[in-house]
Amino acid sequence: MLEIFVCEDDPEQRKRLNSYIENYIMMENLDMKLVISTGRSQDILDYLQNNRVTGLYFLDVDLQEEKSGIALGAEIRQYDSLGAIVFVTTHSELTYLTFTYKVEAMDYITKDKFTDIRQRVIECIDTANTRYLQNKYNNIKKFQTKSGDKMISVDYNDILFFETSPQLHKIILHAKNRQVEFYGKLKDILEMDSRFYRCHNSFVVNKDNIAEVDTKNREIRMTNGEICYASSRFLGGLKDIIPH
């Protein structure tokens, strides 16, 4: 069950949010429950300390206490890494990316622009629900690695190849529609999945995404047209895998 939390210090607005949420859950008969609706951030944190939950959080950014909604979101993240955080804010659009990067917020709702708040709340509940169910039932395996504070996670199916950068220990991951750098070792990556193959001293390729192998020029063309290089020493191992 997905548990819903609301932290909003204005009683009027809190009541309104509560009614939107509860009505929608009842109407659609969703497997959800509004657990806590409060003006004090500590209430939510206390609950999280004692219970393991996956939640949906509606947080006001400007709380009338020292802690801002963003800081609260960051603390919630420590207990509930999969939860969906939605910010309710008057700062219209000025901090959207910050929400995303600070606490991986799912969405934000603006209060001032006379937007249809009810509609936005419903949208957020729906997205959180689909995401929750997805996580629960079909666990798509993802390649995950940590780079500083950042968690890089890419579907194994999307990975084309890894390449070492001239900078020591830095690796560039080439994926469909993404190129990302992180610190690590090719040797460790090789061990993470059986699809990976060391085709060059400085390349590890995902065998599933090879379109063709040009043995003459020692080039591997990936499904999206990108070229990965192979060395003659490692080319032999590819021959048994890929039909030409």
Partner: protein, 431 residues
């Protein structure tokens, strides 16, 4: 046999030096082909016309370098430097052999046994020199201004040096070398080489200074733009303060007369537009005040103001104060410049264009994220990172490949580029 060995050793060092100097631009295979070609042409020519044959080999090397790399200045400079290196290391080796092993020059020329030691020594010295020169070049290559401005001068200087060296050798050949002769020559050449490097260093320093000055100037201009922007915002604010009292007065008038309808039309027509005005462009850069790094502030404000002039919805988010950033500021500005220019270029083409920059402090460092709207049917991601790729035809599109190059030079800086939900996002993380 003796000539073959001599020519072979020389060609091998020549081609290998060119390979080393060119770093990753050439494959080893290409250099091997070059070596074999040079040997096939050079050996018969050497038998036929002697020393001047080197000029033809040199032309051959230059031509093939040009064919491979397309950069005229470097394809002249590198082979010539390789030849200078080979001549100098020849002299150094002779010097060593004469001084420490008491070998006479005739022995070096004739004695086959000595050649066995002579050529390896020569080879090692040449390769070491090539690496040293390459190190110098990589140090200064970041300042491409240097080669753009003085590249031709430098090429001419190199050509003249080679001519002088070989004139000397030719004259020496005709008159016969003596020990003293060779030692004097070695000294002279070494001196000349040091002089050349000295001139090069002085030149570099002045160019670097100039570049720094230019950077400062640009930064100053950007900050001027930013202050203009701030002043405009301030005038807006004053206007609003003036209006504010009036608005309150007229509202209280409506309330006193209980004219709800009048109040509601007044609200719709007078007050709502003001709230929209508050979301006007000028305010979207307001959070830049939190950026305390001047260079960063400068480049962000100038690029975003330009974006707004192109009617892009450009916003900067900097919630926390940013006092320092752990990256060379020149490189940071170049990276951001490239990222923002690309973002603006792409965003302009979209129907709903937006550009969003966020500066987010993380426990380990700073994250700079740039997100812009992009066309749904754009080119594949890896294509835009390729050198020379551009949606605007050839000769452009060094942008993103340059970006990758700069980032790969910096320790503790990583780049994440992806496309998601119609947004093109670049995240530069500095630890």
């Amino acid at each position: 046999m003796k000539e073959l060995l001599a020519v072979g050793a020389q060609m091998l060092t020549l081609c290998l030096s060119i390979y080393i100097l060119n770093q990753r631009r050439f494959s080893l295979k290409f250099s091997l082909v070059m070596f074999i070609g040079a040997l096939c042409i050079g050996y018969p020519l050497y038998i036929l016309i002697g020393v001047p044959s080197i000029a033809i080999i040199l032309l051959l090397c230059i031509a093939s370098s040009y064919w491979k790399s397309r950069g005229i200045v470097f394809s002249i400079i590198f082979p010539i430097i390789a030849i200078i290196i080979s001549v100098i290391s020849d002299y150094i080796t002779s010097g060593i052999f004469i001084r420490f092993f008491n070998t006479s020059p005739e022995e070096i020329n004739d004695g086959f046994l000595n050649n066995m030691y002579y050529y390896p020594t020569y080879f090692v010295i040449a390769i070491l020199l090539a690496f040293a020169v390459r190190f110098l070049f990589t140090r200064f290559q970041a300042y491409d201004l240097l080669f753009r401005r003085y590249g031709i001068l430098f090429a001419i200087l190199c050509v003249i040096t080679v001519v002088i060296f070989y004139a000397n050798i030719l004259i020496g050949k005709q008159q016969g070398f003596t020990n003293a002769n060779i030692q004097a020559n070695s000294l002279l050449f070494a001196f000349y080489f040091i002089l050349l490097i000295g001139v090069f260093m002085v030149l570099t320093r002045s160019v670097m200074k100039e570049a720094a000055m230019q950077g400062k100037q640009e930064q100053y201009e950007r900050l001027l733009e930013y202050t203009d922007n701030l002043e405009m915002m301030y005038t807006d604010m004053q206007k609003f303060r003036h209006d504010y009292i009036n608005i309150l007065l007229s509202m209280s008038e409506y309330i006193r007369s209980k004219d709800m309808e009048g109040l509601s039309t007044y609200f719709d027509h007078k007050i709502l537009p003001i709230s929209q005005g508050m979301q006007n462009n000028n305010y979207k850069l307001g959070t830049l005040q939190n950026v305390k790094v001047q260079e960063l502030k400068g480049i962000l404000s100038s690029k975003l103001i330009r974006a707004q002039e192109l009617h892009i919805d450009a916003v900067v988010e900097a919630v926390e104060p940013i006092e320092a950033i752990n990256m060379d500021s020149v490189k940071l500005c170049r990276c951001l410049g490239i990222i923002l220019d690309n973002a603006i270029e792409e965003a302009v083409k979209c129907e709903v264009s937006n550009l969003r920059v966020a500066l987010v402090k993380r426990s380990g460092g700073l994250l700079i994220a740039v997100a812009n709207s992009c066309q749904p049917d754009g080119p594949e991601l890896h294509q835009i990172f390729e050198k020379g790729f551009s949606t605007k035809g050839t000769g452009r599109g060094l942008g993103l490949s340059n970006l990758r190059e700069i980032v790969s030079q910096c320790a503790g800086v990583t780049l994440d580029t992806y496309r998601k939900d119609g947004q093109f996002i670049q995240e530069l993380e500095v630890y």
